[in-house]
Symmetry: C2
Subunit: 248 residues, 2 copies
Amino acid sequence: MHLPSSPAPASIVWQRHAVAFNESACRHCPVRGTSICAALSEDELLTLQAMSKTLSFRQRERIMEEDTPAHFVYNIIAGSVLLSKLLPDGRRQVVGIAIPGDFLGLSFSARHAFTATALGDVEVCRYPRLGFETFVDRSKALLKRLHSTTGHELGLAQEHMMLLGRRSAEEKLACFLVTLRDRWAQIHGPRLRIDLPMTRQDIADYLGLTVETVSRNLTKLARHKLIAIIPDGVRILDPAGLTRVAGC
Amino acid sequence: MHLPSSPAPASIVWQRHAVAFNESACRHCPVRGTSICAALSEDELLTLQAMSKTLSFRQRERIMEEDTPAHFVYNIIAGSVLLSKLLPDGRRQVVGIAIPGDFLGLSFSARHAFTATALGDVEVCRYPRLGFETFVDRSKALLKRLHSTTGHELGLAQEHMMLLGRRSAEEKLACFLVTLRDRWAQIHGPRLRIDLPMTRQDIADYLGLTVETVSRNLTKLARHKLIAIIPDGVRILDPAGLTRVAGC
DNA sequence: CGTTGGGTTGATCGACCTCAATAAAAGTGG
DNA sequence: CCACTTTTATTGAGGTCGATCAACCCAACG
């Protein structure tokens, strides 16, 4: 699911891939079963495909910008995406991390609610917002699926509020790792290795902390043998222990 | 919109009212235009009314309990409702405040995501979840309205994350007051008086602070002549100034 | 190479928490 | 209606967790 870490070559491969399978892209889409497209019939899928475009983004490229007219909505095919909001003075809050199968622009608002930044190489399926909206109007199943997904997102957001408002720095880190692991597990089954394609600053902005505090608490978790810090991620050494300090 | 403060009599009046207008309740519903019901035709409204029940709750009564089977969904008719989540050790996070026109149970999940507590006297319109869900299946307009509302809620949740993660205590308080004022303004127009039917502890749990910090920062705002603290609320003395320190 | 950007670690500071006392308000029962 | 208790709000003093400031390490890269 997650693309190899060497940026340039992987991106080229993907673009070739996208072109080659253009007329049957949805059929071979890796997130066909987990994304909102799962609610569509073959016919509907073809109609939707006609207005869709597969795009590649590289490390740190912006997929959408907060408070900018929302001409498009997006389905994540591969890679991780950071969703963040900015305060006028530059303070940033990461409001979510999108992984393959996630949909950006669920609320169909005229302006984007957040900035979406590619964490490494990212593949998305892009639709014009208005076209997608009228398409949704014709498929009750899709509309229901979309609503259910939005409801699920709302639940995640409320868990995130609990994390930001009422957890200590150490709990925040542990909870972040456990949650991320569980979300990926839904895609590719349980793993002990957690990929962290984002910077420490990204994690800090997700948890409402500073880089230093993130760094300190990661090494603290490692010192207690709950995790091991490895290049571009962590390895969970003591799943039960980590869940215990996470308290979730 | 907000009921008079003397609890017992008001509640009795409402119950009488609800019975008297039972067969034409929706017609006279104060939130008919602002709630999701606005998406319904007269016929649909009658069908929905057949499965609805008007209920009253008094100060601090629970409307729903977190992680409990969601047999019903609710529409707030009058009063304010506190939406909160609990950590195993008792730490609490308020994830939202619902006011008339708001809908509880948007995500149709089988279990309630939060506890809903009445702040003073509250009137709700209650529907069986499953019945409501099948009813929604028949009205595309309602489903769209529901989805749009959920999307809006998601946006509010993301703003709340920004508040919890990246704002100082003083900013949190100011932002809380401004946001609350603006939400009520959508119902009954602009006012300088903000009702605060919740306790300081509720506000603290909303902002991720302690009661003491809430109290201190309210008096600080008052000392700077931005607000005046009055019984059961505050009066905004300097709207522009308050918005400035809120930064929103 | 030198430079640059991310990450870790240490020392210090301060915003907010904790604990404690008091005040004010709201119930409660006679 | 008034004592009495209980709950809620405010204020003060002191402690702590995480922020800030600063140094350093390391890998990537021109």
